[in-house]
C-alpha cells in the first residue's frame, strides 16, 4: 500500500454491496491512491440500513462515500471528489480536453453501455436479439476510445477504466451465464484485450469480488427473472 498523502485523522468510509460494480469503483479508486478506508456492507436486497437512508435520502442507494462525516452519493461524483482530494496517482488527466473526453466516456458507460448490457442479458426474450445488437454497438463505440492504448487512461488505469470495471470483470462472467456472446476476442479484440490488462492489475485484483460468487448470484437473478416471466 503506497504512502497516504492527505491530512492525518482522515475518516473515510464506503457503504457498498459486495456484488455491485458501482461501490467497487469507489474502492478501486481509493486503493489506487493508497487511501485507507472503512468498508460497510449494505444488505441492499433485504434491508437498507437507517444510516444509508440518512446519508442518501434522495436515491437511497449505494455507494455512499463519507469523508470526515460528509456524505457523497453517485459513483462518478465520488470518483471526481476522490481525485480532487487525494493527489497521488491521478485518475483524471491534466489537460482540460482530455478531462472532457474521460468524463464523456465515463458517462457513456453509465448512460448507454450498462443499461444496454443489462437489457441484453436480462430483458424480455422477444427483444433479446435487438438488445444484443444495441449492446454490441455500445461496446464497439467504447472500444474506439482505447485508440491503441493499454488502458483508457493511457499507461495506467484512469477514471474511464475504473468506470468500465463492470465491462472488465462482470460482463465476461454474466454473458457466459446468460448464453449471450457480446464481448469476445474476435468481435471486440481491443476491448477484450483491455479486460485482460484490467483484471491483471494488482490493485484491480484486490478490489474485485470472487468470480464464483458473482456467477452464483447472477444465475440466481436470471432464474428469478425467468420465473417471473413464466405464464
Amino acid at each position: 500500500m503506497k504512502a497516504v498523502l492527505g491530512t492525518m485523522g482522515d475518516e473515510v468510509k464506503v457503504f457498498g454491496f459486495w456484488a455491485s460494480p458501482f461501490s467497487r469503483r469507489v474502492e478501486l479508486a481509493l486503493r489506487f491512491k493508497g487511501v485507507p478506508y472503512e468498508y460497510i456492507e449494505e444488505d441492499i436486497l433485504g434491508n437498507k440500513s437507517p444510516l444509508l437512508l440518512h446519508y442518501n435520502p434522495v436515491h437511497k442507494k449505494i455507494p455512499v462515500f463519507l469523508h470526515n462525516g460528509k456524505p457523497i452519493a453517485e459513483s462518478l461524483v465520488i470518483l471526481e471528489y476522490i481525485d480532487d482530494t487525494w493527489k497521488s496517482n491521478p485518475i483524471l488527466p491534466h489537460d482540460p480536453y482530455d478531462r472532457a473526453m474521460a468524463r464523456f466516456w465515463a458517462n457513456f458507460i453509465d448512460d448507454k453501455c450498462f443499461p444496454a448490457f443489462m437489457k441484453a442479458v436480462m430483458g424480455p426474450e422477444n427483444e433479446r436479439e435487438k438488445a444484443v445488437e444495441e449492446a454490441g454497438d455500445c461496446l464497439k463505440t467504447l472500444e474506439s476510445a482505447l485508440n491503441g492504448k493499454r488502458f483508457f487512461g493511457g499507461d495506467a488505469i484512469g477514471m474511464v477504466d475504473i468506470a468500465a470495471n463492470f465491462i472488465g470483470f462482470w460482463v465476461r462472467i454474466i454473458q457466459e451465464i446468460a448464453g449471450v456472446e457480446l464481448l469476445s476476442a474476435d468481435k471486440l479484440p481491443a476491448l477484450f484485450k483491455w479486460t485482460d490488462e484490467f483484471v491483471s492489475c494488482s490493485v484491480v485484483k484486490e478490489s474485485l469480488p470472487p468470480q464464483d460468487k458473482i456467477s452464483a448470484a447472477f444465475k440466481a437473478r436470471i432464474d428469478q427473472a425467468q420465473t417471473n416471466t413464466r405464464p
Binding site: 457523497i72 471528489y81 458517462n107
Partner: protein, 236 residues
C-alpha cells in the same frame, strides 16, 4: 490559452444548449453560435461532430475535436479558460454537492417536468406534478445550504449548479402556464423564487434565455407532435 475559434452548435429552445452559452458568457469568450432547427432535421455538421449521440450542444474549440454533453462542456469551459471567473466551486466537497444536484436534475427532475406535458390522464399528471414539487422542495433546501445567504447556488456569482438548474426555468415557466399553476413561488419556495429572478436577469443569462411566449408556442407544437406520433403508433 490562446483564443482560438470557438463554435457552439445549439438549438434556441434547448435548456442544454443554453448551459455552455452562459458559461462562455461568464468567461467573456467570443464564440460563433450555430442554431440547429432540430425539428426540421439534423445538419451534416451535427452528425459529424457528435456521431455518438447526434445531439446538441456541441462545442468545437479550435483544432480540437468536438466536445459533447452540456455539463461536460461547462466543466471544460471552466478548466480551459481558467483565468476567468470560476464556474465550479473551489472546495472539493462543494464541487461534489453541485455535481450531485446537477445529475439529479438531469436524470430525475427534468424528465418529471417533461412528463407533465405528455401525461395521459389526470392521475398520471398529478403524479408527475407531485414528483416535480418534491424535487423543488429538495432544491429549495439545497439552495439554502449552497448559497449560504447569497444570491446564487454559487454564492455571489452564478456557478455550475445555477447554470444546470437555471437553464430549465424557461420550460418550467411554460409548464406553469400550460397547467395554470405555480411550481416555484414565494409561498412554497421563497429562496428559489428570488434566485430565479436573479438568475434570469443576470448579464450572462438574459440574452440566451428564450422568451417564455416564444417557448410556449414551440412547446405546443412539440406536444402536438408527440401526441400525434403516439396516436399514429397506436393505430398500427
Amino acid at each position: 490559452m490562446a483564443t482560438s475559434e470557438v463554435k457552439l452548435l445549439g438549438s434556441w429552445p434547448s435548456p442544454y444548449a443554453m448551459r455552455p452559452r452562459i458559461a462562455l458568457n461568464i468567461k467573456s469568450v467570443d464564440y460563433e453560435y450555430i442554431d440547429e432547427k432540430l425539428w426540421e432535421g439534423k445538419s451534416q455538421l451535427l452528425f459529424q461532430s457528435n456521431p455518438v449521440y447526434k445531439k446538441i450542444p456541441v462545442l468545437i474549440h479550435g483544432h480540437l475535436k468536438p466536445i459533447c454533453e452540456s455539463l461536460i462542456i461547462v466543466q471544460y469551459i471552466d478548466e480551459a479558460w481558467s483565468s476567468g471567473p470560476s464556474i465550479l466551486p473551489s472546495d472539493p466537497y462543494e464541487r461534489a454537492v453541485a455535481r450531485f444536484w446537477a445529475a439529479y436534475l438531469d436524470d430525475k427532475w427534468f424528465p418529471a417536468v417533461k412528463s407533465i406535458g405528455v401525461a395521459k390522464g389526470e392521475e398520471e399528471k398529478k403524479a408527475a406534478i407531485a414528483q416535480v414539487e418534491q424535487g423543488l422542495g429538495l432544491m429549495e433546501e439545497a439552495f439554502g445550504q449552497c448559497s449560504k445567504g447569497k444570491a446564487f447556488f454559487g454564492g455571489d456569482e452564478i456557478g455550475y449548479l445555477d447554470i444546470a438548474f437555471g437553464s430549465f426555468l424557461g420550460w418550467l415557466r411554460v409548464t406553469e402556464r400550460f397547467n395554470e399553476m405555480k411550481l416555484i413561488d414565494e409561498a412554497n419556495t421563497p429562496g428559489l423564487a428570488h434566485w430565479a429572478d436573479s438568475f434570469c436577469s443576470h448579464a450572462a443569462v438574459k440574452d440566451v434565455m428564450p422568451d417564455t411566449d416564444k417557448l410556449a408556442e414551440f412547446g405546443k407544437m412539440v406536444i402536438a407532435k408527440i401526441k400525434a406520433a403516439g396516436a399514429a403508433a397506436q393505430r398500427h
